[in-house]
Each structure stands twice: as C-alpha cells, then as structure tokens.
C-alpha cells in the first residue's frame, strides 16, 4: 500500500512538472525565495476565486434578458408549487394523526406486539452490518466540506423563512375546537398575527442562517483548522438529532394498543419507540467504531479480503432474518432428528464421495457422462413430482439437482488434491445451508398473525423487493449470456423467454402467479401468495435485467475477446474473468434503474390482495373509525418513504460507478 501510494505521489509530481510553467501562473509571493516552494506553488492550479452570491446570481440567473425572464417565470412556478404543498401539509384540516397513530401498521401491518423484538433484531442486524461496512470501507474520500455544510445550513434557514412567509395564515379555531366560519368561509388570522404566531419557525431560520454565516466566516478566515469533516461520521452524528429529540421534544404519543386509540399530544414518544431507535443508533456507532478499529489493524490486502465474508453475510442476511428470526420456525424435533438431519448427512456424504471420484485426475469423459446421467435422474425426479408418479421430499429433489449441477462443473477442479478437497468442503457447506433452510421453511411458524401473511406494510415491500432483486440478478445474467451464446438452443430459448415476458404486462403476470400458479405445482405442494408474487416479479424483472446486461455485453470490445482467446482462456473463463466484469460495469446505471423500478413496482402487491404499504394508506387507514376517509395524508407519507429509499439506491449506484471508474479505459 505504502509503495503504491509512493509511486502514485511521484508520478503525480512528475506529471505536474512540465505542465506547471505552461499553465496559468498564480500570484507568487515575492517573499518566497525557496525555489522548490515556488515551483510547488506554480505546479498547483490557480485557486478558484471566491465569488459573492450577488455575482453568482447575476452571472447564472440574470445574464441576459431572456435568461432573466425564464428565471422569473420558473421561479414563480416553483413558489406557487411550494405554497400549495405547504398549505396542504400544514393545514389545520389535515389529519396527520392518522399517519402518526398508524406508523406501526404502515411499516409492519399486524405483526404481534409481543413478538416485536424480532423486528428490532432484524433491523439491528442490518444496522450492524451497515456500520461494519461503513467503518471498514467508507470514508476514504475527502469528506464533507465545512463550506458546503455552512451553505446548506444557511440555505435551509432561508428556505424555512421563505416557507413561513409563503404559507397562508392559519385558520381560527373556536372555543369548541371547531374551525370558525363566517358564511361558509373559514376565518383566518391576519398576516401579521400569523407571522408573529410562527415565532418558533422564525427563530429556527435565524439560528440556522446565523450558524451558517458564522461557520462560513470562520472557514474563510481559516480560524477553523479543518476544512472538512468525515462524511460518514457526520451523517451518523446528524442521525443522533432525531433520536435525541425523541427523548426531549414532546412529539406526542399516538397509538392503537389492544384496539384502543391513544392520543396524548403533550408527551414524548413512547418508550417502545425511542428505546429501540436509541439502541439502533448506538449499534451503528459501535459497529462503525469496530470497523474503523479493524481497518487500522489490517493492511490494504487484508481489508480487501474482509470484503468477502462481509458480503456473504449481507447476502445471507435476508434468508436468515426472514426464516430464522422474523418467522421463528416451530421445529418438530422428532422429525428433524429422524428425517431432516439424516437426509442432509446422506446427501452430503454421498455427494462428497461422487465429487471426490469425479475430480480424480484423468477421469476424462467418464466424469461428464456420470454428471449427465445424474442430471437426467434429477430432471426425471421433477417430472415425476409433476405427475405424482412417486413421492419424494422436495429437498431431496433439490439436492439431487444441485449435485448434478456441481458434478457437471467438477472437471474444472480435477487434479491437485487441495482443489478436490476444496470442492468437497464447498459441497458439504452448500448441503448444510440448503437443508437447514429447507427444514426451516417447511416448519410452521410460531408467530401468529390475523392474516395469512406473516408481515405486511412497508416490511413486505422491502422483503419482496430484496428477494426479487437477489433472485432475478443471476437469472438475468444467465439469460443475457444465453441470448448471446453461440449455441442456437440457448439463444432461441432465452430470446423467446425474454420476448414473451416483455410482451406481457406485469400486472397480468402477478395475477397469474397469485391465482393460477398453485394449480400448476406438483401434487402436495403449495406456495404462499407473497412467495408466488415474488416469483412473478423475479421472472419479470429477470427478462429486463437480461436486456440491460446484454447491452453491456455488446459494449465489450472485440479486442477483449481476441486477447482472451490469444492467451488461451476457455469460453467460460473468458466470460467470467474478462467479459462479464466489463459488461456489468457498463450496465450499472440501467441495472440500478431496473432495481429501483422493481422496488416501486412492488406497490402492485396491493392489487393482488397483499397488505403492502400502499394498501395500508389507500384502504386500511381510511377505513378505521377514527380516521374515516383520511387518505391523502397517508399517500403523501408513503410517497415520501418510497422516495427516500429509491433516492438512496440511485445515490449508491452513482457512488458505485465512481468507485469502479478506476482503471476505466
């Protein structure tokens, strides 16, 4: 690491050398007699001169008559839109209590109160993983400029002040608590009364603007020795503000507990909200500190190696969290001991034996023949299941199929015993994981909910989106490779699949999978509504992902194929090591676009009868007796939640693009 940094440093200095005298020469202090220092000053680009706000506005907004006209016209448009939104959000007629009271319903639907700790364990696990990832890998950049922070603070303050002025005066509320009306028109405060009434907002705006100005001055006069703060730490520290405010500020306590409606506006939020969130915040801080500590202890290469287990944990977390923690499987130990464990061991041992034999050096054609026979038997098992010829546990079929597939690839590991042993160990681990999860999935759940689904609301949105993305990505890549394959059978199959799926509306596929899928399944097998919907989303999304990846594949230049061939890579090696990495990098923007689309399309779940977040806002909350017909507030809130997640995803993809931009041709 030190070596690389050293060479990079010298290279940069060497590169700057010849440029210096040619480039614009900044003002050099005559007092600087040190030749080297003078050269260094010249080698740097001239500092950007600070322009005043007025200057900036003249140059960018009012540079010509047409430009001024456009600025004014669109500025007014924005002001009117902002005014409308403010008046909507802050109107006395809004029933925001409907959202406040039903937060739990919106996020998790009817998950039982006494089991709620499971949800917090899930959130906590993800928070810890995030903290570890951030601590280990984030924040190598420059951080957030203090100057930028000061600008944002002053800007937010100004926006608040503008909003206070824009919002129309409040409606008068009479002694009986109802809106005062005169001839059917509501009576409002006078403008000055309203402005005086909103003193708290004025104070907030003034504090923010003042703080921004002070900070900016301090940075400009270099009274503050640092010019930036680490971005991640800053964001986490900012998160402390809402968490802390839950303990101090009287946000109010609103809830449905055991069917009774609670509304206590004057107090702080309930313990069952602020304690978990505080714990979550502490967890992310602790995990991040741990990550930072580990980063200091390891060198660059070890850190890179840390990525693998951490990413595996990320990949495994959805499965483990859903089936182990959220669902809390009720295992019948008699059956587990007599059937599940013996079967897992049996497949592990027999499979290991078969693979050990197939990787013998010089096994040659015989190995492939055995693998193909295994594949035939596996396929026949599924066919038999479909027609109900003979019964067999589903996981036995699955294990058989996996064994056949691994056996097909076994010849790549033939030869040295260390490689053979690695394959066998990998097989044993795979069997352990598959059988563990198959057992968990088949066990009934101890969590009892009033509806068929375990969980609803925003949680179901996230669950369906995450599983869809995780499953459709590999499927999409395989489809893209098949479509660009030289083998006609793959090409025809992939092309027809993609074209069929793309020609059918998503909602049709969803309804089809929700209603009809169970009729097509093998005898004795049933699949839940959410699972079949996820399957539908996966198949749909994979077709689109495949087209995105295919675009990336086509952008890989012919020279790359030729170079791979020329050094003797096989077709598979060429695809895995040379073509796919480049193709996927190119297709990151459309791939993330597709992921965001998938995330938003989960709102269609509402149509096939799943209680997802949209359905909560659109039909469940407006049907409650306390909040009859209050729909717009919930919908606005849900839109904001969707937006936050989608925006985060797209921001992350931009970061990923920048990070992978290293070494771009």
């Amino acid at each position: 690491m030190d070596d690389a940094a050293g060479t990079r440093g010298t290279a940069a200095a060497g590169g700057a050398g010849p440029v210096g005298p040619v480039g614009p020469v900044g003002p050099v202090d005559p007092a600087v007699t040190d030749v080297a220092a003078a050269a260094a000053a010249r080698a740097r680009p001239p500092e950007e001169t600070y322009r005043s706000a007025g200057e900036w506005i003249r140059k960018n907004l009012f540079s010509s008559r047409l430009n001024s006209l456009l600025t004014i016209a669109f500025g007014l448009l924005i002001l009117f839109a902002a005014r409308g939104l403010l008046n909507f959000v802050f109107s006395e007629e809004r029933g925001w209590d409907a959202v406040r009271t039903n937060l739990r319903l919106i996020f998790t639907h009817a998950y039982p109160e006494e089991q709620y700790v499971r949800i917090w364990v899930c959130v906590g696990t993800l928070v810890v993983l995030t903290g570890l990832s951030l601590g280990l890998f984030a924040g190598r950049g420059e951080g957030v400029q203090l100057q930028k922070i000061s600008t944002v603070m002053a800007g937010v303050g100004a926006a608040i002040a503008l909003g206070v002025i824009l919002r129309e005066p409040s409606v008068l509320i009479g002694a009986d608590g109802a809106v005062v009306r005169e001839n059917d028109d509501v009576v409002r405060q006078s403008f000055f009364e309203a402005m005086a009434d909103r003193w708290a907002w004025w104070l907030a705006a003034a504090v923010l603007i003042a703080a921004g100005v002070v900070l900016r001055r301090a940075v400009a006069s270099s009274k503050v020795s640092i010019s930036s703060v680490p971005a991640v730490e800053f964001a986490v520290a900012l998160l402390a503000l809402p968490v802390l405010s839950a303990w101090i500020y009287p946000w109010g306590h609103f809830a449905f507990v055991d069917g009774t409606f609670i509304a206590e506006p004057g107090r702080t939020v309930a313990m069952s909200t602020k304690v978990p969130w505080t714990v979550m915040w502490l967890l992310v801080v602790a995990a991040m500190a741990l990550g930072r500590l580990m980063r200091r202890g390891f060198d660059e290469q070890q850190q890179q190696r840390m990525r693998i287990p951490l990413n595996l944990l990320w990949l495994a977390s959805p499965f483990a969290l859903y089936w182990v923690i959220l669902r809390d499987p009720h295992l019948e130990w008699d059956r587990v001991l007599s059937v599940d464990i013996p079967m897992g061991v049996l497949f592990g041992v027999i499979g290991a034996g078969v693979l050990w034999m197939l990787t013998r050096p010089g096994v040659g054609e015989l190995g492939r023949i055995i693998a193909i026979v295994l594949l035939g038997v596996a396929a026949f098992n599924w066919l038999a299941a479909f027609f109900g010829w003979y019964s067999m546990l589903q996981k036995a079929r699955l294990s058989f199929l996996l064994l056949a597939l691994v056996a097909l690839a076994a010849h790549n590991f033939a030869g040295e015993s260390i490689k053979r042993r690695r394959l066998v160990v990998a097989w044993l681990v795979l069997m352990a994981i598959v059988h563990y999860f198959a057992t968990l999935m088949n066990a009934p759940s101890t969590v009892e909910t009033p509806t068929e689904a375990l969980i609803g609301g925003f949680a179901v949105t996230v669950i369906v989106a995450v599983f869809t993305i995780m499953l459709s990505f590999p499927l999409g890549v395989l489809l893209a490779l098949a479509r660009t394959s030289r083998l006609p059978i793959f090409r025809v199959m992939a092309t027809s699949y993609i074209e069929v799926i793309r020609g059918v509306p998503l909602i049709t596929i969803l309804i089809f999978f929700a209603i009809i899928l169970n009729l097509f399944l093998p005898v004795g097998m049933e699949i839940s509504l959410i699972a079949s919907a996820t399957l539908g989303y996966t198949l749909f999304s994979a077709a689109y992902l495949a087209e995105n990846v295919r675009g990336g594949l086509q952008s890989v230049r012919r020279g790359q194929f030729e170079a791979s061939d020329a050094v003797g890579l096989s077709t598979t090696q060429r695809t895995v090591f040379v073509v796919l990495p480049q193709a996927l990098r190119v297709s990151i923007p459309p791939l993330v676009g597709q992921m965001i689309a998938t995330f938003k399309e989960t709102s269609l779940l509402a149509i096939i009868g799943v209680f997802d977040v949209l359905r909560m806002a659109n039909s469940v909350i407006p049907a409650q007796t306390q909040f009859l017909g209050i729909k717009r507030e919930g919908l606005l809130f849900v839109s904001v939640v969707y937006w936050i997640f989608a925006y985060t995803l797209s921001k992350q993809s931009q970061r990923l693009e920048r990070r992978l931009g290293v070494g771009e041709r």
Binding site: D3, A4, T7, G415, R557, G559, Q560, E562, A563, S564, D565, A566, V567, G568, L569, S570, Q573, F577, V578, P581, Q582, R585, V662, G663, E664, R665
Partner: protein, 259 residues
C-alpha cells in the same frame, strides 16, 4: 514467384532447424473478397520473420489465422506439429503455445497490470497465485516497468501498455510470438521502447513473426522478410536481399514509397 525460390532464400543454417509454423496453400475469404490466396511458407524454430506489405495486403489476416482468431478455409496450418482444424482441443493447445501482441494492446481494463499478466497462467497453466505473481514480477522487470505492477492499464502510456501486453503473452511461456503491428498505435517517442523489448526477445531465441511498418526493425533484427500484396506472398528473402536488391517489380514500388 515460385515456392522453390522462397526455399532457396532460406539460409542453410536455418533450413537445418525444426519447422515451427508451416502454411500450405492457405486461402481465406471475407464474403466474396479473397483476403489470402495460396499462402505457403515455413517458419523455423528461433527464426525472426518480418511480414511487410501495403495495408490491405492480408498480412494481419494471415497472422491472425495462425492462432485461429480467423479461420482459414482452404489449405493447412501446422504449428509446432499440431494442425489447426475445427477441433477445439487443438485450437486450445496451439493458443497456449502461441503468444500474440495486438496493435491496440487489448489489455483487460478492469484488471491491474499484474492481474492482466497472471490471469492466464493461473487459470490455463494452473499455476498457484504466488508462483504466477513471481513470474509476472520477473516479466515486468524484463520489459522494464516493474514499478507499474499495481496500476490499471488506463493509467499507463501507450508504450507501457504495449510492454505489459508483451509480458502478458510471455507469461504463458509460448514457443512462438506473433506481433500484429505492435507499434502502429503508438506515439513516435514510445515506439523505440517497444522495439527494444522486441529486440531483446529476438536475441533470447524466441521464434517471432512480426507484422510491422518499422523498416529499421526489419533490417536490423529479421532473419527473413516476407513481402505480401493482394493476399499473396510476393517475395521472400533476407533483409539484405530485400532492401538492396529486390527482384519483384511490386516490391521495388513498395520500397520506393516507404523508404
């Protein structure tokens, strides 16, 4: 000119060596356009052959046929005793024997220099990673850029990239190296650093077939010069013969234009 003339041009000493590349009556069409017609030539072990000719004369097509980046349609190509046919195993065997350097370098842009070099040794030659990295370090030393190992190709100059490409080809320990206009995409000041590496390689006893426009290299380093035009071999001879006393009219014309 006839085949017997070409054979005469080969010196006695070279003739005694083993054949490395043998082409017999190789034909190649792109659609209706015949890119190669009746190419017949033998390249001996440790021989340096430079292929010259105007652009579009089929020199690149020929060199690309030798490791099957293009498939020839008629005739025979035999590399180190293995005939190139549609049999994939033969193609794989020949490709691991034959190193190739491209005009556009074709380094893998997403891999560091050292990963570019070690990829094939690890996955095709089944070397362990430390072993392959040691080999890569030695090769980078040999081509004169040991300090660039951890950089990405995009951070290197053209000449450095081409030297990495040579190191990548050498990492497979090939018996033959093919160069397809290795200096044509380079700025003038970088051509020499690549030619120096190629000269060093020639002195070390590598069999080389070089398509180039560098007359200086052909004169200094080549054992034999092959002149092509219109998909045919027009003239074969030692550099001395070729540059001082060419027999064919077309060769004279070409030389008068480039020298």
């Amino acid at each position: 000119m006839s085949i017997s003339d070409a054979t005469v041009a080969v010196s006695e000493e070279l003739a005694a060596r083993d054949d490395m590349i043998v082409c017999r009556d190789v034909d190649k069409w792109f659609g209706d356009f015949q890119a190669l017609s009746g190419i017949t030539a033998t390249i001996k072990e440790q021989e340096i052959v430079v292929v010259l000719g105007p652009s579009g004369s089929g020199k690149s097509t020929w060199i690309r046929c030798i490791n099957r980046l293009e498939a020839h349609q008629n005739g025979q190509i035999i590399v180190d005793g293995i005939e190139l046919t549609n049999d994939l195993r033969n193609i794989e065997k020949i490709r691991s024997e034959v190193g190739m350097v491209f005009q556009q370098f074709n380094l893998f842009p997403h891999l560091t220099v050292v990963d570019n070099i070690t990829l094939a040794p690890i996955w095709v030659r089944k070397k362990s990673r430390p072993e392959a990295e040691e080999l890569a370090a030695a090769l980078l030393e040999r081509v004169g850029i040991p300090e660039q190992a951890e950089k990405f190709p995009g951070q290197l100059s053209g000449g450095q990239q081409q030297r990495v490409a040579i190191a990548r080809a050498l990492a497979m320990e090939p018996r033959v190296m093919l160069f397809d206009e290795p200096t044509s995409a380079l700025d003038p000041e970088m051509i020499k650093e690549v030619l120096d590496v190629m000269e060093e390689l020639a002195r070390s006893g590598m069999t080389m077939m070089v398509v180039t426009h560098e007359m200086g290299f052909a004169r200094e380093v080549a054992d034999r010069v092959i002149f092509m035009e219109g998909g045919e071999i027009v003239e074969v001879g030692t550099p001395h013969h070729f540059f001082t006393d060419p027999t064919e009219e077309r060769t004279k014309l070409f030389l008068s234009q480039v020298l």
